[in-house]
Every structure is written in C-alpha cells, then in structure tokens.
Amino acid sequence: MNLPLPLAALLAPQIWYMLPLLVAVSLVYGATRHELLIPILQHAWRTAVWMLVFMGVIFVALVALEWWI
C-alpha cells in the first residue's frame, strides 16, 4: 500500500533522530542567552517551537511542490 508522502515521511525512522538534536540545540542555545534555569528552559522551549515550525513550513512547502509537480 502506498502511503501519502507526508505520512510516509513521518513514519520514516530517520525523522525521529531529529528529536534529541532539537532538545540539545534548544537547551544549549537557551543556556548561552541566560544564566538561570527557568529562563533557560523558557528560551529553550521557544527555540524548539520556532525550529519545529520552521522545519514544518519547509516540509509543507516540499509536499506542496511534490503535488504540484
């Protein structure tokens, strides 16, 4: 059975390897902008959401491009 491309992409195991990277990058970036734990975590959360949205927009654009082509 052929899955729709977005679903197939989400089921590919490689995509889940981004999660540890997302957590590590967000936390380290937050820690370079703040000194206390609570602001670090708040900044890390905002950074993680921003990166997910950014990648999501690119993902949707690529899926749209694939349908269009």
């Binding site: 957590v23 590590a24 990058v25 380290v28 820690a31 000194e35 206390l36 734990l37």
Partner: protein, 192 residues
Amino acid sequence: MSNPNTAGEQALEIDLRDPALAGFLAWLWPGLGHFYQRRHAKGMLFMVCILGTYFFGLTLGEGKVVYANWTQEDHRWQYALQLGVGLPAAPAIVQAIAAKRPEGPIGGYFMAPPKPSPRGGNIHDAGQIANTLPEWHKRLNVRFELGTLYTMVAGLLNILAIYDALAGPALSEPVDEKKRPPGEGDDKKKQS
C-alpha cells in the same frame, strides 16, 4: 514588557574568573570551563547536552565517524567541526598519526582514518575492502551520515559554550533604564 525572570538575571553578578582559562577548559571538555567558574548548573547542562550528542553520534557510527584524514580521495573537513568538543575528539589525531605506521592504528579502527580504496583490485573481495570508506558507508548506511551530523553539531554547540565561558551569557532583553536601581553599573560580568 520585559520578562521578570530575565530582568532578575540582569542584576546577577557573574564571576568569570580567568575567562581565557575558562574558555580553554570549556573547549578541552564541554562544561569544564563553567565548573571552573563555579557555574555548576550550566556546566552540567553543557556537559550532558554536548557530550550526550557527541557520544550518541559516535555510537551510531560505531566509532568510525570521527577521524582525521586529508587525502586525495577523502577530505574529511567534518573533523574540523567535530574537534570543537576538544579532548573527546582528540584520539582521532593520534590514530591518524598511528595509521601511517606499518603496524596500523592503535586498537583497531576506532577513530582511525579508513584505508585507501584498493586500486585495480576486486571490489567484491571482502579482505580488500574491509575498513575502507565505501565499506563503512555500505555497512552503516544512513547511520554514518547521522553519526557525522550529531558529532559535528556537538562540536558547533561547544563553540557556543566556549563563548559563554569567555564572555558570559548574551542576555537578549536589555534592562529598562527607568527601572534600573540607581548606582547599578552597566556590565555585571565580573572578571577576577
């Protein structure tokens, strides 16, 4: 409106001690520079995040994704970024030197550069291609790329941590001048 948490941070006085030494220690072992500065929580955070990323990548690539090599068929520029984690990536330099000896690398091919591909030999001969770059790519498949990516990102993240040890956090929200207590200095980062 300024965030009360970050506004509170503005009043923090951070003793950077000797920033150059802290920066060197932060490069040598992620988090060590912050421990030297007695910023233990951040030191632990950097150590866990950066070394966790690095060793996860190294494990994914079975210890073969971090190596130093600059030959005609393999320009391993990624090692320059991996070296950002300092000591944990340093064995690759030792292995690169050891690989030039007749005995070969120390203790197998952990962090050692791959053998040059056989020229004119039978590519299907397992003995000929063992520990060559094509064989590593074939066997590890996508894990070779992922391991390389993780270890490179770890090195880049440690550059941010080194900067933090050298200069303190780059506070993003400037304190409101009207709310600043009288007599409070502009720079609260103290060097001893």
